[in-house]
């Protein structure tokens, strides 16, 4: 240390309110009474995510990011605290965050809170209300959407919603800052950091102390100097057998410390002065913090069982050191990746040539590249398969001085890589079986698609089959084109942009007519559902140019024409995906055209003349068929072919009022229809003599709904070709 104002003896004096023991992590306290803040109903702390979210995130991806943060705290093993999201739309629409009746996660886009005036420099804040005894009555998380930009997709220069939220939710739960550089409650954040998304052992220890659910081990002891005097406010950390830091805490003013929330296992301990990068200035008041000693390891390994409180030997600290490792300007935790070598820069003091860098995991190789006094550059090589977690870095000087940076490194897997997503589209109502292929998928991963989160191994979640495959079945998803994001438990992520379209999937119920002239120009009506604006219709892969969407259930296509044959695949594709299929055939004959009847009124048994074009002896005539589908109608009693432009037909019985007239080539399925082409007397016109039900009879083509039409159409085309061959 030894700054401009330095002296050898450094004592931090704070309010003379000293608890009996100081535990790992730090809790928020009542500013006047010193009571630690807590929720009295920790198992059901209701929170609401404001639906509007950030104006930087029109896709509402703040929802999933915040839910991931909530889930991260809820997954804390050994803690009874649960944040329970209230998803009532009425609650999500509320903005009255100050009300005691709602604990809101809210993006303040216009400084309605008054806490984000211009130039405040505040990115997010957590107001907490409490009673004199320390119980929390209300807490909310406010993001400064007015002055800062947020991201859920790693956009540079923007604050990661999940990273910020995880930190702020720790405050909401009653935690203050941690001296562990890799903890989510580490005081400093940066736009380039996402590793606070995942809790560190120290955060977990905090939750276990405040809201315990289970029986955990404790290590307790005293920090002393060589002259047997005690050391107040020393920061004591515990490492597990993998060298991962699992917690830490301040000794009290008598040098006593207790590290709580330990799983059964073997631990080693060390003490260090709380100076950099987190100092007493970052912690709650109520502690005496002494920093005039050097970082020192406690010899031996200590084993604790569940529920056991184990006293350990006095931790005798050495003399103060002039070197220190880590500054708040470093973006901790520094990430190192399994199976990779990473070059890093860490600031500090006294980092001079001749010093030695080591890591709490001996299988991780740390090599100094260059020493510059106030900084050191180093490379860190992590073997593949190394356990993830937070590692301490330690620097030792040539004269025995030492500084330890607790949890400054975080071992993570490589970023997940999403290569393919299949299928690329599915119904917004869910039910699509999806296969995600890629690399570096690890157990416990989450998949985010639109507003849905799928967590490995949870009901309705996903299944990490192996490092290259994830399976899931989609749930109801907000419509749109979505990234598919795989988030590792460490918080690192991989994504495939615009990889999945969630949409109402179109369906085709009818195609009318089923065939058209090979030269094109046939007006075809598609009936079905979920026809979206901007859709495309293809026949045999050829996009049809003249497509009119009348509604979500009706589309009219004027065919381009194509090679005689088929039935060809008919596809209707909504923008962004979602395809419905049917079939259509191109045939040689010209399409029949009906232009009028003479007379246009009649009664059953009357003979009328049907005018048009391209009639043939095979032309059928039906009255009262559905003009969009060709379904229904009553066949003419008789048809006489007088020529390609004229038919004489006898009106059938059983109809009333204006009726369509449909002509159809029986051999090809080509058809044309004249709406209201004939007018029958209504029941009032005929004195009730005519009681026919219009259009209720099933015409022969109605049976062709579904897939049977393909077979029939094929037969028709085959028959046509046979006739041509015969001719």
């Amino acid at each position: 240390m030894g700054g401009a104002w330095g002296g050898k003896l450094r004592v931090a004096l704070v309010v003379a309110v000293v608890g009996a023991l100081a535990f790992a992590h730090v809790r928020l306290i009542h500013p006047s009474t010193g009571a630690e803040l807590f929720w009295s109903n920790p198992s059901s702390i209701s929170v609401v995510i404001n639906e509007a979210g950030s104006d930087n995130l029109p896709d509402k991806s703040h929802m999933t990011a915040l839910r991931n943060s909530i889930d991260e705290w809820n997954r804390t093993p050994g803690s009874s605290a649960r944040l329970v999201e209230n998803i009532s739309p009425g609650q999500q629409a509320r903005t009255d965050w100050a009300s005691d009746s709602i604990h809101l996660l809210y993006f303040d886009e216009d400084n309605s809170s008054g806490y984000f005036p211009s130039g405040s420099g505040t990115v997010a804040i957590t107001p907490i209300w409490f009673y004199a005894g320390g119980s929390i009555s209300d807490a909310d998380v406010l993001f400064n959407g007015k002055n800062f930009n947020f991201t859920t997709s790693g956009q540079a220069g923007r604050f990661d919603v999940q990273d910020i939220a995880t930190h702020e939710l720790g405050h909401l739960l009653g935690l203050d800052h941690s001296g562990v550089a890799g903890a989510s409650m580490y005081p400093y954040v940066d736009t380039s950091v996402v590793l606070h998304r995942s809790l560190a052992g120290d955060d977990i220890g905090g939750m276990r102390e405040v809201y315990p659910d289970g029986s955990f081990g404790r290590l307790t002891g005293t920090v002393r100097r060589a002259d047997n005097s005690t050391v107040a406010g020393a920061w004591v950390s515990a490492r597990d057998s993998d060298g991962r830091i699992v917690g830490g805490g301040l000794a009290n003013n008598l040098g006593l410390y207790t590290i709580e929330g330990l799983d059964p296992g073997d631990y080693t301990l060390y003490a260090r002065p709380l100076d950099q990068p987190v100092s007493s200035a970052n912690l709650t008041s109520g502690h005496v913090v002494v920093t005039d000693f050097g970082a020192t390891h406690l010899p031996g390994v200590y084993t604790v069982a569940a529920g056991q409180t184990k006293g350990v030997s006095d931790l005798i600290v050495g003399p103060d050191a002039t070197m220190s490792l880590g500054r708040s300007s470093d973006n901790f935790p520094l990430r190192v990746v399994q199976g990779q070598t990473t070059n890093l820069t860490i600031h500090g003091a006294g980092l001079n040539p001749g010093s030695v860098l080591t890591c709490s995991d001996p299988s991780v190789t740390v090599s100094a590249i260059s020493w510059h006094g106030s900084l050191v550059t180093l490379s860190v090589s992590v073997p593949a398969g190394e356990p993830r977690g937070h590692l301490d870095l330690e620097v030792s000087g040539p004269f025995g001085e030492r500084s330890i940076l607790p949890g400054g490194l975080e071992v993570t897997p490589p970023d997940p890589v999403v290569l393919t997503v299949s299928p690329s589209a599915g119904s917004d109502s869910g039910g699509t079986s999806m296969v995600i292929k890629g690399n570096h998928f690890e157990p416990g991963a989450r998949v985010v698609i639109g507003d849905r989160i799928y967590t490995d191994g949870e009901p309705g979640g996903c299944q990490v089959v192996d490092p290259t495959t994830i399976l899931l079945s989609t749930g109801a998803t907000v419509p749109g084109v979505h990234d598919v994001v795989v988030i590792d438990q460490s918080g690192v992520e991989g994504r495939q942009s615009s990889a999945f379209t969630s949409a109402a999937i179109p369906t085709i119920d009818t195609v009318f007519p089923l065939a058209g002239n090979r030269l094109g120009g046939t007006e075809m009506v598609l009936r079905g559902d979920n026809f979206a604006t901007g859709l495309e219709v293809r026949i045999d892969g050829i996009s049809q140019g003249a497509v009119t969407r009348d509604s979500g259930e009706r589309v009219v296509v004027t065919t381009n024409g194509g090679l005689e044959g088929g039935p060809y695949l008919l596809e209707l594709e909504n923008p962004g995906g979602g395809v419905a299929t049917s079939a259509f055939a191109y045939v040689r004959p010209a399409d029949p055209v009906v232009t009028g009847l003479q007379p246009s009124e009649g009664v059953p048994g009357d003979v009328v003349t049907l005018s048009g074009a391209n009639f043939s002896p095979q032309t059928q005539v039906l009255f009262g068929a559905d003009p969009d589908t060709g379904i229904g109608g009553v066949a003419a009693d008789s048809i006489e072919f007088l020529g390609p432009g004229t038919l004489e037909v006898t009106l059938p019985a059983g109809l009333a009022g204006d009726q369509s007239v449909l002509v159809r080539r029986a051999d090809t399925g080509q058809a044309d229809v004249l709406e209201a082409g004939i007018s029958y007397p209504t029941s009032s016109d005929s004195g009730g003599a005519c009681t026919a039900s219009v259009g209720l009879e099933r015409g022969p083509w109605e049976a062709l709904r579904g897939s049977a039409w393909m077979l029939v159409l094929g037969i028709l085309v085959w028959m046509r070709s046979r006739r041509l061959e015969t001719a």
Binding site: G7, L9, V11, G121, T122, P127, D176
Partner: protein, 201 residues
């Protein structure tokens, strides 16, 4: 026992040097940008140095708790120069013990000499220290009469028992008072220059 006595001695010394420190609430950081002095000056609406005469907690109709501070202003670097000024900051504790804190917002204490970088007033008249705790320096006097500017958020003082000097502790920002004032003035010069350059001709 020796350590305890030493601590008590340090405590007494610290009390002489920075008595107001002993009632200050702890840091509770929200999330704020790291800012240096020029950043603070540029972002602030009001930069002043003064003594806190009173602190009055109030509860708003919306249920928010805020504290009204009355300041005797020694010097105004930016903003209207008035001798007495009231500023309202969020958070505080009411007489009945109910309270509200906002992570990272420092509280001022009666009698404290402070150098403040304050934001524009919000809709309710509430200002925030720019950059939360970064926007407030406490001005303390050493035993030799020289001044220091200490930026921290806790009831913390680092004291060299032999000289009475405040010591630099990591996480604390201890500046020579005159040096800090000079930097503020220089930053204000830059702000004025920019304003003149942007003013209509």
């Amino acid at each position: 026992m020796r350590t305890l006595l030493t601590l008590l001695a340090f405590g007494a010394l610290s009390l002489l040097v920075s008595r107001p420190l002993f009632t200050e609430p702890a840091v509770r950081a929200g999330t704020a940008l790291r800012m240096d002095v020029p950043d603070l000056v540029e972002a602030a609406d009001l930069v002043l140095e003064g003594r806190v005469l009173s602190a009055t907690p109030v509860e708003t109709e919306e249920g928010l708790i805020e504290t009204e501070y009355e300041l005797a202003v020694d010097r105004t670097f930016r903003g209207d120069d008035v001798f007495l000024r009231s500023v309202r900051l969020p958070g505080g504790v009411l007489e009945d013990g109910r309270g509200m804190l906002l992570a990272g917002v420092p509280h001022l204490r009666e009698g404290e000499d402070a150098l403040l970088f304050l934001s524009h007033a919000g809709p309710r008249g509430v200002r925030l220290p720019v950059g939360l705790a970064q926007g407030r320096y406490r001005i303390v006097t050493r035993l030799d009469g020289s001044k220091l500017a200490v930026r921290d958020q806790s009831d913390l003082g680092l004291v060299d028992p032999s000289t009475g000097d405040l010591l630099e502790a990591d996480g604390l920002h201890i500046r020579d008072y005159a040096e800090l004032v000079a930097e503020i003035e220089a930053s204000m010069g830059s702000v004025r220059s920019q304003a003149q350059a942007g003013a209509p001709k």
